[in-house]
């Protein structure tokens, strides 16, 4: 067996191998991960907008964006020269100059919301250098309860527009205007609810500044306790999206998609992303209720289960075992769904069972 010829180039003085089609950014990330970026998202076509990832390639007159430059045999690439770091600092200062509050952003806003803040620390950018007018105007008039459109923090990396189009296929938002007046908008500048938006939240989770933010999670911004994340699987449908449940103490304060989730790679839908508050909603039943003379009254579990069993038994007796059909709730955990089908198959001896997520 012959293996394909190995591709090699010189990266910061070290000979490294690369895969066909690999970009210099991806290569540099495998070797130290020190090249910064703000417009990059693995799942999206590289845009080459922020220019923070520029590297020097021998023979090129100017630094090139590593995210849009494919590795080629024999290239001599430098990623950390004094000049490159100077340009990166200047770029960072420019970005922070139009978004000075970007350095302190609540992580509840979204998965990627700390990216600019982290770079501001790395390049000591506080917004003082290159100060001037700020671009972006927050859409406080958009009343939707899920996505905060806090464009004061927007840095025009267009990750939101790209994820909406390339990953979600909704094309609900767009780049309006030109130059410094560029803005993220819907058609006719309307609220998201009037657009093609499906409130999947992907724009929120890719935003590197928290300009697009999870409104539901932000309600718990002031809740006490350390923020923790627990990996889980979305309980709603059969896709099995991986997600992190964010908690402070015993309280769920948000959900963020798992970018390494094999089924979803960072995507969720409106339910998985935003419909989790029922878990701790005051209306949620905490004890069984049974009907007495038409009125629901609290009962013990034994009493309630006996009543249910009697009802099922009577229905099966009167109408046959196939008269019973069970639909498991999409909100119930997987273990419950399993138990329901077990119940239907063993107790009622039929296959009349389904899950509401299929309906």
């Amino acid at each position: 067996m012959t293996s394909p010829a190995e591709h090699r180039l010189l990266l910061d003085g070290e000979s490294v191998s690369f895969r066909e089609g690999e970009t210099l950014f991806e290569l540099a990330r495998r070797h130290g991960d020190a090249v910064p970026s703000l417009c990059f998202d693995d799942r999206l076509e590289p845009l080459g907008a922020c220019r923070l990832c520029v590297v020097e390639v021998e023979g090129q007159a100017r630094p090139v964006a590593s995210c849009t430059t494919q590795a080629a045999d024999g290239m001599v690439v430098r990623t950390m020269t004094e000049a490159l770091e100077r340009h990166r600092k200047a770029l960072c200062d420019l970005v922070v100059s139009e978004n000075p509050a970007g350095a302190t952003i609540d992580p509840l806003r979204g998965s990627a919301s700390q990216e600019l803040a982290a770079l501001a620390v790395r390049y000591e950018a506080d917004g003082g250098r290159f100060a001037g007018a700020r671009s972006g105007a927050s859409r406080t008039d958009d009343p939707n309860p899920m996505i905060l459109r806090d464009y004061d923090h927007c840095i025009s990396c267009y990750r939101c527009v790209r994820v909406c189009s390339e990953q979600q296929g909704d094309d609900a938002i767009t780049v309006g205007g030109r130059g410094f007046a560029t803005r993220i908008t819907t058609e006719f500048e309307g609220p998201l609810a009037d657009s093609a938006c499906t409130f999947c939240g992907q724009c929120v989770q890719t935003c590197p500044t928290g300009a697009l933010a999870d409104r539901r999670a932000l309600r718990h911004a002031d809740a006490p306790g350390e923020l923790a994340a627990t990996r889980s699987v979305c309980p709603y449908c059969g896709v099995g999206c991986s997600l992190d449940i964010l908690t402070k103490g015993e309280r769920i304060v948000g959900v963020q998609p798992a970018f390494d989730g094999p089924a979803n790679e960072g995507a969720l839908c409106v339910k998985g992303q935003f419909a989790w508050e029922w878990v701790q909603h005051p209306d949620r039943l905490a004890t069984p209720l049974v009907r007495e003379d038409g009125e629901l009254v609290e009962a013990s579990w034994d009493e309630a289960l006996d009543r249910a069993a009697d009802g099922f038994r009577e229905a099966a007796r009167a109408h046959g075992r196939e008269a019973v059909y069970a639909v498991a709730s999409g909100r119930a955990p997987h273990e419950s769904a399993y138990t329901i089908q077990k119940l239907v198959r063993t107790c009622f001896q039929s296959n009349h069972v389904d899950n509401c997520s299929r309906a």
């Binding site: 849009t68 100077r86 340009h87 200047a90 100060a131 001037g132 007018a133 780049v175 030109r178 130059g179």
Partner: protein, 541 residues
């Protein structure tokens, strides 16, 4: 009653590059682009409505307000500012400013609906034909302008009745044709200066098709108005150049991407295409009108615009020669480049190369405007002394005035001062002086002009025209404009200079396209030529 929505959509749906054409059809019918029109277009062409809305909002001239298309737009480019465009703006009801509209050799252009008028403050507006280039003051031979002044030249009959260069190109065959062109030394006259034969050969050898020839007629660089005179007075030369490019590369379709500000030119070109059907044979040429965006003169931005996509420049590689219009191999050439081709094919590479001076080959049209006695388009041999053009050909400044600066490459090349007037008009010489020839726009400023303010206007233009894609240009042009205007930034001269240099250096080094790379030449050349003026301006703050 105008045509119905579905009439318009049916007319354009199957056409090549339909979006701009369909949008103009609605814009012209309704006088603006209504919400309903955008909905109809999105549905008709099956494009996302939000995308369409964003794209429409990118352009200057698509009006979303009722009656907006026909409201007057007054050029406030650098030369028109000198002539009092601010006064004219105030005189005309409902008028708004527009960036340089490419008529700097005339009174101030005013665009109103489908018509361009010219005007001078206090004297109203009038229609005026595109001025011909002034008579060539030297013995030197011209290439593009050799016949442009002939009566009736814009008709096929006036052009000689047939495309003789095209016939000869077909006779030669692609290989001999490309060798001839290569030997002529012709290089892109739109500013980039890429050797034309090499570009054509790359398209010829690129796999895939159908191949396309695009004529870049988006002459948006302030102070440039050469392509308009070529298209208006010698359109067949441009079309024949495109057809020769098609013959050399195997292209079967062609587009002229025409800037919005030249409505009359569209009529001229379309008439010429009609006349030349037999000559063009199976090479299909369409004119597509832009909608006002400087960046669309950048070739990949132009291609996106033509395809109906958001007009951000594309990342390169891949280059248009392999992945151009609709990802197929595409030649994109400037009007002047294409118009140079027929004479080269007819008269030979040696003739054309011999027109240049010294080691330079060929000619270049310079659009000269501003504070000189005889502004206009001059075709000069490459390597021609700038001083001779300014003072001998164009008559120098008015009596009692002195020239203090000229721009190069329109605005993109920054300023040159009197010490630079000894330069010759060619890239090696101008680049050695930190500038470049580019598309050949030269605007002249005499000692009355406030150069810091001229620089501010120039940077404000770049900021307004920055597409918004890459950070250094989007934010950098804004920050430099603020520093030139004094609305932000340090006022202490040392701190001011340090910031302006730092922003400019990063822009020039890491911007994604030529706009952001070139824009800091304005501030750098201002600081080099007029350090005292800068200090005075800072002292007033």
């Amino acid at each position: 009653m105008g045509p119905s929505d579905s009439d318009l959509i049916d007319r354009w749906r199957g056409a090549p590059a339909p979006l701009l054409g369909l949008l103009h059809a609605f814009h012209d019918r309704d006088g603006h682009l209504s919400d309903e029109a955008l909905r109809a277009v999105a549905e008709g062409l099956r494009v996302p409505l939000a995308d369409l809305y964003g794209t429409v909002s990118f352009y200057h001239h698509f009006s979303r307000k009722s009656g907006g298309r026909d409201a007057p737009r007054v050029c406030d480019g650098p030369v028109c500012k000198q002539r009092g465009s601010d006064v004219l703006l105030a005189e005309l009801e409902g008028a708004t400013p527009m960036p340089c509209a490419g008529r700097c050799d005339e009174p101030i252009p005013v665009l109103r609906g489908g018509q361009v008028l010219v005007g001078t403050p206090g004297e109203g507006l009038r229609a005026a034909p595109t001025p011909l280039p002034p008579p060539n003051p030297a013995e030197g031979e011209e290439c593009c302008f050799a016949h442009v002044r002939e009566e009736g030249r814009s008709t096929l009959a006036g052009y000689g009745g047939a495309y003789r260069a095209l016939a000869r190109a077909r006779e030669l065959g692609p290989e001999a044709l490309l060798e001839e062109l290569d030997a002529s030394g012709l290089a892109g006259r739109g500013g980039a200066g890429f050797p034309t034969a090499r570009k054509w050969r790359a398209v010829r050898e690129a796999p895939g098709g159908p191949k396309t020839v695009v004529c870049n007629a988006d002459e948006g660089e302030p102070g440039c108005f050469k392509d308009r005179v070529l298209m208006d007075h010698d359109p067949h030369a441009v079309l024949e150049g495109m057809a020769v490019a098609a013959a050399a590369t195997g292209a079967t379709r062609g587009f002229v991407y025409l800037r919005y500000e030249y409505p009359h030119t569209q009529t001229v070109l379309e008439r010429a295409i009609d006349e030349a059907r037999d000559e063009l044979d199976d090479f299909e040429v369409c004119v597509r009108r832009g909608a006002g965006a400087y960046i669309c003169g950048e070739e990949t931005s132009l291609l996106n615009s033509l395809e109906g996509a958001h007009p951000f420049p594309r990342n390169r590689p891949p280059f248009p020669v392999t992945h151009g219009f609709e990802q197929t191999p595409t030649v994109v050439n400037n009007v002047e480049t294409l118009a140079s081709v027929p004479p080269i094919v007819e008269r030979g590479a040696d003739w054309y190369a011999g027109l240049g001076l010294g080691e330079q080959r060929g000619t270049k049209i310079i659009s000269l405007s501003g504070d000189v006695r005889r502004p206009g388009n001059y075709e000069v041999p490459l390597g021609f002394p700038l001083h001779q053009l300014l003072f001998d050909w164009a008559g120098g400044p008015e009596d009692g005035r002195e020239l203090q600066a000229v721009t190069m490459a329109g605005l993109s090349g920054g300023f040159l001062g009197p010490d630079d007037f000894a330069a010759t008009l060619d890239e090696p010489c101008l680049r050695s002086r930190g500038s470049f020839l580019g598309a050949g726009g030269v605007m002249v400023f005499d000692d009355r002009r406030d150069m810091v303010d001229v620089a501010r206007q120039a940077m404000a233009f770049f900021a307004d025209e920055s597409c918004g894609k890459c950070f250094p240009c989007r934010i950098g042009t804004q920050r430099l404009t603020e520093r030139l205007a004094g609305t932000a930034g340090p006022t202490a001269p040392d701190a001011w200079r340090k910031e302006v240099h730092a922003i400019g250096e990063t822009m020039a080094q890491v911007s994604a396209c030529g706009l952001g790379i070139a824009a800091p030449l304005i501030t750098e050349s201002l600081l080099r030529l007029f350090p005292e003026r800068v200090d005075e301006a800072l002292a007033r703050r």
